[in-house]
C-alpha cells in the first residue's frame, strides 16, 4: 500500500541578503493513514519549514531541489502552481494547527464566520450546512455552549478553548493529513493533557495521518507512533517511538534526553548539549552535529563522513556518523 504522504529527498533553501541558506537538507519521511509522525528538534532545526513545504506555505524566496518529491495522495505537491491546485491542499486535504491560536484567528472576525468561510471554500455546501457542521465540530472538541462560542471573537475565549476551536476549524474540512505545529506548547500542563487526549481520540475516529511537531520529548512519547529527530535541517535519527526514546543511537538524541528534567529521577544531573546550534549560514560540512558532538567517532571530526541514514534495526534509521559515535561511548 502506498503511503498517505511521502517526502523524498527534500531540500529547502532560502535566498537571503546574506546568501543562500539551507534550511532543510535531504529529508525523506512518510506518514500512513491513522499514523502520527512526531518531529522533534531544537528551534532552528527545520521542523516547521518541513511541515510548511507540504502545503507550499514557505515564502517567495524559497527554492526546492529538482528531484525532491512530496507525494500526497498520489500527487506531487511540489509541482502544484495554480491557485486551484494549491487550494486543494491548503485547508482541503491538509490542515494545520499552529502554536499560538490567538495569532491564527483573525481578531476582528467571529470564530463562527471564519469556520464557515473555509468550509464554503472547500466544500460544495451552503451557509446553513456549513454552520451546522461547524457547531457540531465545536461540540466534538469539547466546547460547552458551542452555539454561543460560534458567535464570539477569539479574544473572548481562554487559551485552551481557543486551541480547541482551532482544532475544530482544522478538522471541519475533513483533511487527510493534519499538520500540528507545537499545538500544546503554549498551554498549561492540565490543558495540554486535555488537548493531547482530544487529538488522539480524533485521529482514531477520523483515521487521518498526522505530523506532530514539538520540542517536548514527553509529548512525543504520549502521541507519536514514529519519530524523526531533526538537527540543523537534517534528520539524524528516525524510527518507532519506543525504539527512539528507549534505545537512542545518535549522540544528539541522547543529548536531548539527558537535558530533559525527569521527575522520576531527581538525582540525575541536567546535562546540556555543549555549544550552540550553528547558524544555517555556516552549516558544517559532513555530519551537521560534529561541532557539538562529544566525538566518540574521531573520523566525524573533520567532516569527511557524509550524512546518510542507515537502518540499524528494522525501521530504526540513524545517521552513519552518529552510529559510530553511539557505539564508542
Amino acid at each position: 500500500m502506498s503511503h498517505l504522504l511521502e517526502v523524498k529527498n527534500l531540500d529547502v533553501k532560502f535566498d537571503t541578503d546574506e546568501g543562500r541558506i539551507t534550511a532543510v537538507e535531504n529529508i525523506s519521511l512518510s506518514v500512513d493513514q491513522g499514523e502520527v509522525l512526531g518531529i522533534v528538534g531544537e528551534s532552528g532545526s527545520g521542523k516547521s519549514v518541513t511541515a510548511k513545504s507540504i502545503m507550499k506555505l514557505n515564502p517567495g524566496n524559497t527554492s526546492y531541489n529538482e528531484d525532491a518529491e512530496i507525494i500526497l495522495d498520489n500527487e506531487n505537491v511540489l509541482q502544484f502552481t495554480s491557485k486551484q491546485d494549491l487550494k486543494k491542499i491548503r485547508g482541503g486535504k491538509v490542515s494545520m494547527i499552529f502554536q499560538e491560536p490567538m495569532a491564527s484567528f483573525a481578531p476582528a472576525i467571529k470564530i463562527g464566520a471564519q469556520m464557515v468561510e473555509q468550509l464554503l471554500i472547500h466544500k460544495n455546501i451552503n451557509k446553513e450546512e456549513a454552520k451546522s457542521i461547524s457547531i457540531n465540530m465545536l461540540k466534538r472538541v469539547g466546547i460547552a455552549d458551542a452555539e454561543k462560542r460560534f458567535n464570539q471573537y477569539a479574544f473572548e475565549l481562554s487559551g485552551g478553548m481557543r486551541q480547541r476551536a482551532m482544532i475544530a476549524m482544522a478538522l471541519s474540512t475533513m483533511p487527510k493529513l493534519l499538520l500540528a505545529d507545537e499545538p500544546t506548547t503554549a498551554l498549561d500542563v492540565t490543558i495540554q493533557a486535555q488537548v493531547i487526549n482530544l487529538i488522539k481520540d480524533i485521529i482514531k475516529e477520523y483515521q487521518m495521518g498526522v505530523i506532530f511537531i514539538t520540542h517536548d520529548l514527553g509529548v512525543i512519547a504520549q502521541v507519536a507512533d514514529h519519530v524523526a529527530v531533526m538537527y540543523l535541517g537534517s534528520v539524524v535519527e528516525k524510527g518507532p517511538v519506543n525504539e527512539i526514546l528507549k534505545n537512542p543511537k545518535h549522540p544528539y538524541t541522547k543529548g536531548l534526553l539527558q537535558a530533559l528534567p525527569d521527575i522520576n529521577n531527581l538525582d540525575a544531573p541536567l546535562s546540556p548539549i555543549p555549544g550552540n546550534i550553528p547558524s544555517p549560514l555556516d552549516r558544517p560540512t559532513g555530519c551537521v552535529f560534529r561541532t557539538r558532538c562529544p566525538h566518540h567517532n574521531p573520523e566525524g571530526k573533520d567532516g569527511k563522513i557524509e550524512m546518510k541514514l542507515i537502518e540499524v534495526e528494522p525501521g530504526h534509521w540513524v545517521d552513519q556518523c552518529g552510529i559510530k559515535c553511539g557505539q564508542n561511548g
Partner: protein
C-alpha cells in the same frame, strides 16, 4: 527571624476591575492570604497554571505590585525592610537587593543598547558605581560569571541566541549584587538543552554569590529538579507547600496530584495516566466560595462540594502544608 530572608505574612493583592464605565466596580482577588517564609540561600519554587497568581505574588514581594493587606518583610543583615511601610530611600535600597529575571529574553533587552550598556544600566541608575572604570570592571566581572565573553559586550542583543540573551538578562539582574532574585518563568521560552544550561548556571551562581531565589514556573519537572521548597498555587491560594522531594513523592492535594500526573511521561508505554481535570481555572472575579479547587476536583468530598470548608493550610508532616479541604 535568623535564617529567613523573606517573610510573607497574610498577603493579599486585589485589583479593581470595571467592565465599562457605568458598571459596578469589582475586585479581582489575584492573591489571597499568602504566608510563606523563604530561607536564606534557598531555591523556593512557585508553581501553578496561568491565572493562579504566581507572577502577582512574585511582583508583590518585589514591591512592584501594591499589597492590599498583610505585609512582606525582607530581613537584611543589619535591618528589616517592611515593604508595606517604606519610604523612597528604603525602596531604592531594597531595589538594589532584590531583582527580577524575566521570561522572554527577546522582549526584555533593548535592541538599541549594547550588551555592555544593558548590563551597566542598573549600576548607573542606582548610582552604585562612581566612575566609568569602576562600572566597566563590575560589568566585566559579572559577565564572566555568567559565561559571556568580553567581546560580546560590544554587540547588540540581536546578535545573540535565546540562551545567550537569557545569560545577559541574568547578568543585568545580578550586577547590583542583589541577595534575592525572582526568576519569573526564566527558562520557559528556551529549548531543553539550553534550559538545562541556564538552570545549571542559576544553581552555580547561587553558591558563588550567596543568592536566594524565588523561582516561578509552570513546569513541575524543572521545579522538582532545582528547588528545595515548593508552593503550589491555584486561583490565588497556596494549596500545598513543602520540601520539594517530599511534595513530589507524596503529594496530598488533589490539584498537585493532577498536575503531576499531567506531565507527559517520557516513556511511550506509560500513556494516558493523567488525572484529567475538567474545564479550566475559574475567573478570579468570582472565585467559588470555600475550597477554590472544588469546581474541578476529581474526587470532591461531601463537605467541600457545598463549599463549606474554608481555605487554610494545615501541617500534615513537618514542613509539609496542605489545604485543609484535601487534607481532611
Amino acid at each position: 527571624m535568623g535564617d529567613n530572608l523573606i517573610s510573607v505574612n497574610n498577603v493579599s493583592v486585589n485589583f479593581d476591575y470595571q467592565e465599562n464605565f457605568i458598571s459596578k466596580k469589582q475586585k479581582i482577588h489575584a492573591v489571597n492570604n499568602i504566608n510563606i517564609k523563604i530561607k536564606k540561600g534557598s531555591f523556593f519554587g512557585l508553581v501553578g497554571e496561568s491565572g493562579s497568581g504566581k507572577t502577582t505574588l512574585g511582583r508583590a514581594i518585589l514591591g512592584a505590585n501594591k499589597i492590599s493587606s498583610g505585609n512582606v518583610i525582607f530581613h537584611d543583615d543589619e535591618r528589616d525592610y517592611d515593604l508595606t511601610d517604606m519610604n523612597k530611600q528604603d525602596l531604592k535600597e531594597y531595589r538594589k537587593k532584590a531583582q527580577l529575571i524575566f521570561q522572554d529574553p527577546y522582549a526584555a533587552l533593548s535592541p538599541r543598547m549594547t550588551v555592555r550598556d544593558i548590563i551597566a544600566e542598573p549600576l548607573e541608575v542606582m548610582r552604585i558605581t562612581n566612575s566609568r572604570q569602576e562600572t566597566d570592571e563590575r560589568v566585566r566581572d559579572i559577565a564572566a560569571k555568567c559565561r559571556l565573553n568580553i567581546e560580546h559586550l560590544r554587540r547588540f542583543p540581536h546578535a545573540f541566541s535565546g540562551g545567550q540573551r537569557q545569560r545577559i538578562s541574568i547578568a543585568r539582574a545580578l550586577v547590583s549584587n542583589p541577595k534575592f532574585i525572582v526568576a519569573d518563568e526564566s527558562v520557559a521560552a528556551l529549548d531543553v538543552s539550553i534550559q538545562a544550561d541556564i538552570l545549571n548556571l542559576l544553581k552555580q551562581l547561587q553558591t558563588e554569590l550567596n543568592l536566594t531565589y524565588l523561582f516561578i514556573s509552570h513546569d513541575l519537572s524543572v521545579v522538582a529538579h532545582v528547588c528545595d521548597v515548593v508552593a503550589v498555587m491555584y486561583l490565588g491560594h497556596i494549596v500545598e507547600m513543602g520540601p520539594s522531594r517530599e511534595l513530589f513523592k507524596n503529594p496530598k492535594h488533589s490539584y498537585t496530584k493532577a498536575l503531576l500526573s499531567s506531565i507527559p511521561s517520557i516513556d511511550p508505554e506509560k500513556r494516558s495516566e493523567a488525572i484529567e481535570l475538567k474545564g479550566e481555572i475559574p475567573s478570579a472575579l468570582n472565585p467559588p466560595p470555600g475550597c477554590v479547587f472544588r469546581t474541578r476536583c476529581p474526587n470532591p468530598g461531601v463537605d467541600c462540594k457545598g463549599g463549606e470548608i474554608k481555605m487554610g493550610l494545615i501541617e500534615v508532616e513537618p514542613g509539609h502544608w496542605v489545604d485543609q479541604c484535601c487534607a481532611l
